[in-house]
């Protein structure tokens, strides 16, 4: 299949893996920022093709994982109200807040709907003028343009029954938080190709210089990731620290400027709490003053009470690349996708969930009973 098979070719993958092994002379630790890349690495076993000196750490780039409990609680509170149609991307419905998830709200009679685009939620608002339609606007720079477009359209049309619950996050501040931590182990980054498709990569250049860290803008198919690792290792071995673009079939240095303009128009940069990590300054997007009337948190006056994370969960350390999922004593035992203790197990793209789904056999106890943890049919 075009645009798919050529990026999953086994022979080319082996060639890249051999090339990486050839240029690697000592241990290197590389972090892929995006949950989509983590998912591909674990699903395709890309890490198992690499020489043992290369360690991959899985970064904080899973929007489902890093959405704070408080926002999930606000979503549940708004979605539970009569007269509300609550719209969300599918994978947010299963994420538990401190008490319930959106699926439970739905089963209790709440009108919770999965949409494929925020613009669909605007259409629902048009068709249901007597209802309040709320969209859960989460994600990185990737989803920000479409979410901005939805709010922008609602304003242009004067749709007073539409609002968004915003918890947008930005990649570069999170990378900087990791790099400036005294626990940092990351020596090179694979940046997220789709984020850079929107934003370009000029904002990564100062990071590469300041922290002397190579950053390779990388796609999501196995060969993209292998080539990204190759370019990153080559920089590390040569002592360079530059921003390189592996994903040139989609990414340009300046990015998608009309999309950036729309983001700047509708949103403003705000401090943002990241689930498992904590608050990072200037790391999120909130609605700009001209659009604040579309802020669902304000419209429904949901307070943001502090919610406690499970103390056994080490997802913050996993998201920062300090620990690997299997290093957690609760992994696969107390903590499974059916009963997640924290951020990185709740989403399909969370590092813990990916390891559970594809690699559980590597950590499974050598005993027969109580086999796999998944759902009963």
């Amino acid at each position: 299949m075009k645009y798919l098979d050529e990026y999953r070719d086994a022979a080319t993958a082996r060639t890249y893996a051999e090339a990486i092994a050839r240029i690697t002379t000592r241990p290197w630790t590389i972090m892929e920022v995006c949950g989509g890349q983590t998912h591909a690495i674990v699903r395709f076993g890309i890490d198992t093709l690499l020489p043992p000196q290369i360690s991959l750490l899985h970064g904080p780039g899973c929007p489902v994982c890093v959405t704070p409990l408080e926002v999930l609680d606000q979503a549940v509170s708004i979605a539970s109200r009569p007269g509300v149609i609550f719209c969300s991307f599918g994978d947010m419905l299963r994420v538990p807040g401190s008490q319930r998830d959106l699926f439970q709200v739905k089963s209790d009679g709440g009108d919770v709907r999965i949409v494929y685009s925020p613009v669909d939620a605007v259409q629902i608002a048009r068709e249901n003028p007597e209802k309040e339609v709320v969209f859960l606007a989460v994600g990185f720079e990737t989803t920000a343009p479409a979410n901005a477009m939805a709010v922008h359209r609602a304003k242009e049309e004067g749709l007073s029954n539409f609002s968004v619950l915003v918890s947008h996050v930005l990649v570069p501040p999170a990378m900087e938080a990791i790099l400036s931590s005294r626990h940092n182990r990351v020596q090179g980054f694979l940046a997220a190709g789709h984020v850079c498709t929107v934003m370009g990569y000029t904002e990564y250049e100062p990071l590469a210089r300041r922290y002397h860290v190579p950053i390779v803008v990388t796609g999501f198919e196995p060969l993209d990731i292998l080539q990204g690792i190759y370019l990153c290792v080559r920089q590390l071995e040569e002592g360079r620290a530059e921003v390189e673009n592996q994903y040139s079939r989609s990414v340009q240095r300046e990015g998608n400027q009309p999309a950036q303009e729309l983001i700047r128009k509708v949103f403003t940069v705000v401090p943002r709490k990241w689930r498992g990590i904590g608050e990072i300054p200037a790391s999120g997007l909130g609605l700009a003053p001209a659009y604040s009337v579309f802020d669902a948190a304000r419209r429904f006056q949901v307070d943001s009470q502090h919610a406690e994370e499970n103390p056994e969960c080490i997802s913050g350390l996993v998201l920062q690349g300090i620990k690997k999922p299997q290093e957690c004593p609760a992994f696969g035992t107390k903590c499974t996708p059916m009963h997640p203790l924290g951020a990185t197990m709740v989403s399909a793209e969370g590092a813990c969930a990916a390891y559970y789904k594809y690699r559980r056999h590597e950590t499974a106890p050598p005993s027969a009973p109580a086999t796999t943890g998944g759902a009963t049919p």
């Binding site: 994978d91 299963r94 494929y116 994600g139």
Partner: protein, 346 residues
């Protein structure tokens, strides 16, 4: 199946264009529905007496008995509808027991306000599917629920079939060394229904694979293949079928990802939506576990779309995982999805 049944609907639509509460009341309206919709469609001598139950002749063998309930939104999708699902689903469950499906019951729960022409269309599809599968609908029931308390039509079908083979077909018969055969490409039903339900438009027309499997199973058994286990791939897809059998048999398995055929349209849709083709629903696909020495015979009997996708391993010191060899030659395990597969954010 595509004939102009709308025009042939035997209930005059001008009088009763929709299902009324009275159609479930047991009176004249109920009889009208039975005589003008169900009897003409399912016409057979076992149903004709309209007694409280059907009296079946002796069948000369062990019986397989199963039941399944069918709900789908929308009722009609590319490649099938609720009616074809309701017949083929139960036919296939019987076939997976190694049985030749014979008789089905059909219970309908209709929502008040359902257009009669939709009911007629579904019932005609059931009649066509029953004919194709060689089964007869011999007893039935109809209830009507208030508007808003159903989703158009819910159907339950139960079925009996006769087992004419001495083999015990099920997970308990799976042995290390068995090969796993799959009878065709996967994922079309789930994507076809999702496309219709969510109004997704793909460049290619993906049609459901909904089909009776009794013929294919009959071919294997008649061909003398020592079938150890059969499982149709429905909700949860190939993943659920393999993982469940692996757990029941307490044996690990290996599957070659590249041996599993997925149409380009389905692959594309799965990529866009963030779904795993292995876990997408099917309605006309099954896996068969047979001894390795019979693999080629079985594959030939199942036709050119069938392939050997993997094998059963000897028991190990770990829980019985299903390991997949990926296109890159690396390994991962298959895991049951936690619930419904959900489209991802990005």
């Amino acid at each position: 199946m595509t004939e102009e049944f709308v025009l042939q609907c035997p209930i005059p639509l001008d009088d009763n264009p929709t299902v009324q509460m009275g159609h479930g009341g047991g009176g004249r309206m109920t009889r009208d529905l039975v005589e003008r919709i169900f009897l003409p469609a399912f016409s057979n001598d076992l149903l004709a007496p309209l007694h409280d139950g059907a009296i079946l002749p002796p069948v000369g063998g062990r019986l397989a008995f199963t039941t399944d309930s069918f709900v789908v939104r929308p009722l009609f999708f590319r490649g099938g509808d609720l009616g074809t699902l309701a017949i083929n689903g139960t036919v296939n469950d019987l076939a997976m027991c190694g049985a030749r499906p014979l008789y089905l019951s059909a219970g309908f729960i209709l929502e008040e306000g359902l257009p009669i022409k939709d009911l007629w269309r579904v019932v005609r599809s059931m009649a066509d599917a029953a004919l194709a599968a060689g089964v007869r609908v011999v007893t039935g029931d109809t209830k009507v629920v208030d508007k808003g308390h159903g989703d158009g039509i819910f159907i339950n079908t139960a079925g009996v079939g006769v087992i004419e083979t001495p083999l015990t077909i099920g997970p308990m018969s799976v042995r290390p060394g068995d090969v796993i055969l799959l009878n065709g490409d996967i994922g079309r039903h789930g994507i076809a229904v999702m496309a219709e339900r969510e109004g997704l438009e793909f460049e290619s027309d993906i049609a459901s694979d909904c089909a009776p499997l009794s013929g294919a199973v009959h071919a294997l058994l008649e061909g003398g293949v020592e079938v150890h286990c059969l499982r149709d791939l429905t909700r949860g897809g190939l993943t659920s079928a393999l993982v469940e059998i692996s757990e029941s048999a307490n044996l690990p398995m290996r599957v070659d990802e590249e041996a599993v055929h997925v149409q380009d349209g389905v692959r594309g849709a799965c990529e866009i939506l963030g779904l795993e083709p292995f876990s997408v629903a099917n309605e006309g696909r099954f896996i068969a576990f047979v001894p390795a020495k019979e693999a080629e015979t079985a594959r030939a009997l199942l036709g050119s779309d069938a392939s050997v996708i993997g094998s059963v391993e000897p028991p190990g010191d770990q829980p019985p995982f299903v390991r997949v060899r990926t296109a890159l030659g690396t390994a991962r395990i298959l895991d049951l999805p936690s619930g419904e597969q959900l489209p991802r954010i990005c």
